[in-house]
Subunit: 363 residues, 2 copies
């Protein structure tokens, strides 16, 4: 199958921090994006908004976007609660009329909408609801504890701080060093980028850990050296903490990388609400290690700092501060590239893990 | 509406520890149970198995059960993963033929089974799937922090240790003392007993806390003195911990009651797996207070011990040991009745909460 070329719908919300799915897909597959819809920014380029993405055009309407010849339309933003903005429907019907597939990570399944479903059928197009859970999932039983590869999970101080991006950058950096990796997507953006995975935030609550466990076991069956699991939410997020903990206990990570956005001081700051003050990184390290360790012992081996909002000097200072506060290696893998003390720390943890397994007679 | 009289299906699994839904319903509404189906125990009484429930008969087949004249059949056991044992279907079809409604808390929705649904329609009966989530749920935003009533949540060292029962007993004990209460059911058994609630373990993972928050706000709108929320799972359960944490952060409890079964040493001991050793109670207290406190400060104010398996002397010793280990009031509210140091502790915590609110000018 030829990789699809997408028109990305991000109307009213395309920006470095809000249009998470759009941005990540553009970062990793810019050649597969024909354009972005956001009427506020029509006429500008993606690069001028995100700082990457080159000359991909931003257009104001679905008609202009469809004129760019996409194979499919991707919903590129994740409204809180994951529902479809009512005024997008007409545009999606036009896209289906033009023969485009639709890829969506919304909680509201577009293929359950009678009008959209009928139109898709009529036009021979497919609506892909990335959050639709697999039909049968197990209850987790801690089986991921026993996989041979070294399992790393990114955990966060909030939603939308860069857990997936840090993990993808880390995957790339380890590959560069000749380490065999398997990235495990647990959300719609990761699934779009990697082409497999399960949106663990959309499964029935009893199966969060079970869905994660299945993904880790599947990744382990490819016998990589390292499995890198995409984290979700945050342990202290008033809405999503359950997803986070289920993911932690389902994945049974041997190591955690704590992700934080420099300068963010409240949970949910980039959305409507400012719910909860973000405590010091050391409080997160204590809480994640304590609660994860109740099922499988683990530790935070480094901090992935997201400094997208910072000037250079500010970014350097933020890394220094996080290093001083935690005593751990810190890096922004996007800003400073892949070769860093953070990647060294992961490689060292991998070596120690292997030695411990050899000592235990497991290999 | 006249309260329905139930025939309870618990075939192969009726016992003090396994048939959780059946047992709890019988404890609180024995007058509404015409019989229990378990072919292993046919001819015996419920009292002879559970130690309560009087002369309610246990029968071996659906036909014998239907002869007792129930209005409805209730699925009284919760198989792990919550699916329908294939061999029950014929019996349920017979029950529908006999004009019975069906009440089920399984994850597999019986009303989605084409054969069962068709038969129900044909016979004018209703299949109630208690775990079917409400159609529209919010993402939680910590709103339960601000309700006026004192909110208590039961938390556990494992599933199936007595979190719902302890909370129902506590509700009763507070009512006896003239304190206005509202019990909040979060699982199928509580919903059956109380007639409202949401099965928070069956909602899409992103909405666990949101579903809980809605229930607490609804309970608060009745202006009780105390809201008692039914807990689910355990913070260190490999499969269900996500539900537990979502519930904790959605409910924003002002106080926790930690529930434990005396003598249980592994998570899941009463099911197939022995996953994880149960750490000391003090480790649970630390972990629950730490993680809950990341959204809303709370503390464990007492221990509800389930001593159903113990002889009298053993039960007394277990309570004493838990008291020594934690410094907290301990009681088995079922064995020793409602008037106890645990209820005193709750009443004292309520008084302190009121004083603190008065000091803060909230009332």
């Amino acid at each position: 199958m030829m990789p699809l070329r997408y028109l990305i719908l991000a109307d009213g919300d395309f920006s470095p921090m809000t249009s998470k799915t759009a941005n990540a897909f553009i970062r990793y597959h810019p050649e597969r994006v024909v354009g972005v819809i956001d009427r506020r920014l029509a006429g500008r380029t993606v690069e001028s908004i995100l700082g990457f993405g080159g000359s991909i055009p931003i257009v104001g309407t679905m008609a202009e976007g469809l004129a760019l010849g996409p194979d499919a339309v991707m919903i590129g933003i994740a409204p809180i609660g994951g529902r479809l903005p009512e005024d997008w429907k007409a545009g999606l019907l036009d896209a289906l009329d033009a023969g485009c597939d639709v890829w969506s990570g919304l909680h509201t399944f577009l293929s359950d909408d009678p009008q959209l479903a009928a139109r898709a059928k009529e036009r021979g197009c497919t609506i892909h609801d990335l959050r639709r859970p697999p039909p049968s999932l197990p209850v987790a039983s801690g089986r991921a504890r026993h996989v041979a590869p070294f399992v790393i999970l990114t955990v966060g101080t909030d939603c939308n701080v860069g857990k997936m991006t840090a993990q993808l950058q880390l995957t790339h950096a380890l590959n560069q060093r000749g380490i065999r990796t398997r990235f495990v997507p647990t959300g719609q953006t990761g699934i779009l980028i990697e082409g497999w995975g399960t949106g663990v935030d959309a499964v029935a609550a009893d199966f969060i850990a079970g869905a994660t466990e299945e993904l880790v076991l599947k990744a382990a069956s490819d016998q990589p050296d390292v499995i890198l699991v995409e984290g979700q939410g945050s342990l202290n997020h008033p809405g999503y903490s359950g997803v986070t903990l289920g993911l932690v206990h389902g994945a049974c990570p041997d190591a955690l990388v704590l992700c934080h956005q420099a300068g963010r001081s409240f949970i949910g700051e980039y959305r409507e609400a400012e719910w909860t003050a973000i405590p010091p990184l050391s409080a997160y390290i204590e809480a994640y290690e304590l609660v994860a360790g109740m099922v499988h012992p683990t530790r935070v081996i480094g901090i992935a700092l997201n400094t997208v909002d910072c000037e250079d000097e500010e970014a350097r200072a933020a890394c220094e501060q996080a290093r001083d506060a935690t005593g751990l290696p810190v890096n922004d893998l996007v800003r400073y590239g892949d070769n860093s003390e953070l990647v060294d720390a992961v490689e060292e943890a991998l070596q120690n893990y292997r030695l411990a397994r050899e000592d235990a007679g497991a290999v």
